[in-house]
């Protein structure tokens, strides 16, 4: 239970290979921070620097006000769940969980008590005498989690813990994870490339790209007000429609249709328009910004159809919209409304958000 603080953290392997650049953030007790980004964005390197497995080039890592940057991993009082689980293959489930406690010279009684309560929470009781090779993927994952929980560490670190599970199990374990860590006070840092995990689990999300922190916010803020074009395109599935459009005075031209610009976006020769497919809708009474186009692709997602529309007046402008699945949309001329409050505007040069 201690605040985790990263200050101006930088990792450089050489002058040109710099996976983490000047990162500062804090994670308080009861906070669940997810580091999310495409592969190569530096998220795992950050986690490994917090753990002490990777040398910090510049900056400091402190836990509970204590500078741990020069300390060995074992002296930081952290626990980590690895993507591969890293279970000791020659030890039973019980010994796997006890290993860290024995190394810290805890009494046998204490060890037993902690493992008992963790194995109850995780449903590992019948498995305690088995070896990792006798467990299924989901069970191994829970043992790895148990090994972290019994440590009662100052900070939990999780490195893509769900990526080796199949889709159905992943959803279930994700829910379990959320419940388990809601009961824990210690800060959690969770690394993933899966935005659904980031959105569902965290109290705070840090979106990373090319070693830079793009946005650090609560999940719904990240979804509702992406700070720049990268975040807008990375968070949200299906991906946000992003189009660079030419400005004509106080509006932009989308094919043959005029979209009015808010005050803050009225600058430069062009701007980027962003709108999520789920916010594009069939026109209702009172909608003023309406575009027309031809449907050329319909993807059935079950609860709705993802419809791709080629807009009139410009052959290469494609707008994707989530429309109710109760109608057929094939190859017809369609009208779509773009509600102004759902449109995001980004600067062409800096790619930063223009509207508040």
């Amino acid at each position: 239970m201690a605040k985790l603080e990263l200050q101006n953290l930088t990792k450089a392997y050489s002058k040109t290979v710099v996976p983490v650049k000047d990162l500062s953030l804090t994670v308080d007790d009861n906070e669940f921070l997810t580091l999310v980004g495409p592969s190569g964005c530096g998220k795992s390197t950050i986690l490994r620097m917090i753990a002490g497995l990777e040398q910090v080039t510049q900056g400091t890592v402190s836990i509970g006000g204590r500078d741990v940057t020069p300390l060995a991993p074992g002296d930081r009082n952290i626990a980590m769940v690895f993507q591969s689980y890293a279970l000791y293959p020659h030890m039973t489930v019980y010994d796997n969980m006890a290993s860290g406690l024995k190394l810290r010279k805890l009494g046998v009684g204490d060890i037993q008590k902690r493992i008992q309560s963790a194995s109850q929470v995780l449903g590992l009781d019948p498995l305690l005498d088995r070896r990792p090779s006798q467990l299924s993927g989901g069970q191994r994952q829970r043992v790895a989690l148990g090994r972290a929980l019994v440590r009662e560490p100052d900070v939990f670190l999780l490195d893509e813990p769900l990526s080796n599970l199949d889709a159905l199990l992943r959803e279930q374990v994700r829910a379990d994870l959320k419940q388990i860590f809601e009961r824990q006070e210690s800060p959690v840092v969770y690394v993933t490339h899966d935005q659904t995990e980031a959105m569902t689990l965290s109290t705070k999300v840090a979106v990373l790209s090319e070693g830079y922190l793009q946005q650090l916010d609560a999940p719904n803020e990240i979804y509702r007000r992406p700070a720049n074009r990268f975040v807008a395109g990375f968070i949200g599935s299906p991906q946000m429609n992003l189009m660079t459009l030419e400005r004509v005075e106080n509006s932009v031209l989308l094919g043959e249709f005029k979209i009015e610009l808010p005050d803050a976006a009225r600058k430069g020769s062009s701007v980027i328009l962003g709108i999520r497919p789920e916010h594009v809708r069939l026109p209702q009474e009172g909608d003023c910004q309406i575009v027309r186009g031809d449907v050329f692709l319909v993807e059935n997602l079950g609860m709705s159809d993802l419809v791709s529309v080629r807009l009139h007046g410009s052959d290469d402008r494609v707008l994707r919209a989530m429309l109710p699945a109760d109608a057929t949309w094939s190859r017809e001329n369609i009208e779509l409304a773009l509600p102004p409050q759902s449109i995001h505007w980004f600067d062409v040069e800096t790619e930063a958000r223009l509207t508040s």
């Binding site: 991993p73 980590m80 591969s84 890293a86």
Partner: protein
């Protein structure tokens, strides 16, 4: 129930395919072994004009009172034990070094295997010169360092000769052990060490709790191979000392060779072969049994 034709056909083909190998094995392994057993219950030497005369277990009785046999067995045991222990310790050290990432590691690994790839007879000749009493480089080094005052005839001294042949054997086969252990080390995922470090383990603790248990199967396999080789060692000793001085380095295999080839005592030689064979098989069987247990303990999926 329909019959599983596919399985049956596969099984028939399987037997057909292993038949040639099976025949060859029977011919070159099973026959000579059984022949040796058969020969060992006959007396066939110069006193019988090399005619086989049935003598039951007389050869075995003679063996029990044969001081030279027991001495050679003792020599073999000392040689085997000493070289195995030294090779394991040194080989593990070399393997741990080669497991580290450093520049030119590929080259060093290739060079490290060289001693093992060279013909034993050549190595034995080289070591004979190294330990030569008058011109040997070993004496030269020791005298320059002023560790000894006068040259020692290493291979001519009953007290030193055994150490000489052990040194040569260790030099030759340490790399074999090291390469086997290296394969084991490389199969250990790095994140086990990282997880253990986060658990609070020192490198020494990780070596004891992670490295050793996980390479135990490789250690046992290496020791098993080495046991079989060292127990039957012939060429190295024959070239370096010829079993001398005064039988100080005479191994069982050299004694058998002398019995059969020099004294033409075929029946007794066969009995010696049988006993050595049984000892070897017994040790290998026990080790193999233990190995399967260790593999299980190391979490190897079966």
């Amino acid at each position: 129930m329909t019959q599983d034709y596919i399985r049956q056909r596969e099984r028939r083909t399987g037997w057909l395919l292993i038949l040639p190998a099976l025949l060859v094995l029977l011919l070159v392994y099973a026959y000579p072994i059984l022949r040796a057993f058969w020969l060992s219950v006959f007396t066939e030497n110069l006193s019988t004009n090399l005619e086989p005369v049935f003598s039951g277990f007389e050869n075995y009785g003679r063996m029990a009172q044969d001081g030279r046999f027991w001495a050679s067995l003792g020599n073999t045991a000392i040689f085997t034990a000493a070289s195995l222990v030294l090779e394991l310790i040194l080989g593990l050290g070399v393997a741990l070094t080669l497991d580290q990432a450093f520049r030119g590691r590929g080259w060093v690994r290739t060079i490290a295997i060289l001693p093992w790839a060279l013909p034993t007879a050549l190595i034995a000749l080289a070591w004979r010169w190294i330990f030569n009493g008058e011109f040997g480089v070993w004496n030269d080094i020791l005298m320059r360092l002023q560790i000894i005052g006068n040259p020692i005839n290493w291979l001519g001294d009953p007290n030193w000769a055994m150490l000489g042949v052990i040194a040569a054997d260790v030099w030759k086969t340490t790399s074999f052990v090291a390469i086997l252990l290296l394969a084991g080390l490389q199969s250990i995922p790095q994140d086990l060490y990282e997880a253990h470090a986060i658990d609070g383990a020192t490198p020494l603790q990780s070596f004891r709790k992670i490295t050793l248990p996980l390479i135990m199967p490789q250690i046992l396999i290496a020791m098993l191979f080495r046991f079989a080789q060292a127990f039957g060692i012939f060429d190295l000793i024959q070239v370096m000392t010829g079993g001398g001085p005064g039988g100080a380095t005479e191994m069982v295999s050299l004694y058998i060779y002398a019995t059969v080839m020099r004294y033409l005592d075929f029946g007794y030689g066969a009995a010696l072969v049988v006993v050595t064979f049984v000892i070897l098989i017994a040790v290998v069987a026990i080790a193999a049994l233990y190995l399967s247990k260790v593999r299980h303990a190391a979490g190897v999926e079966e």
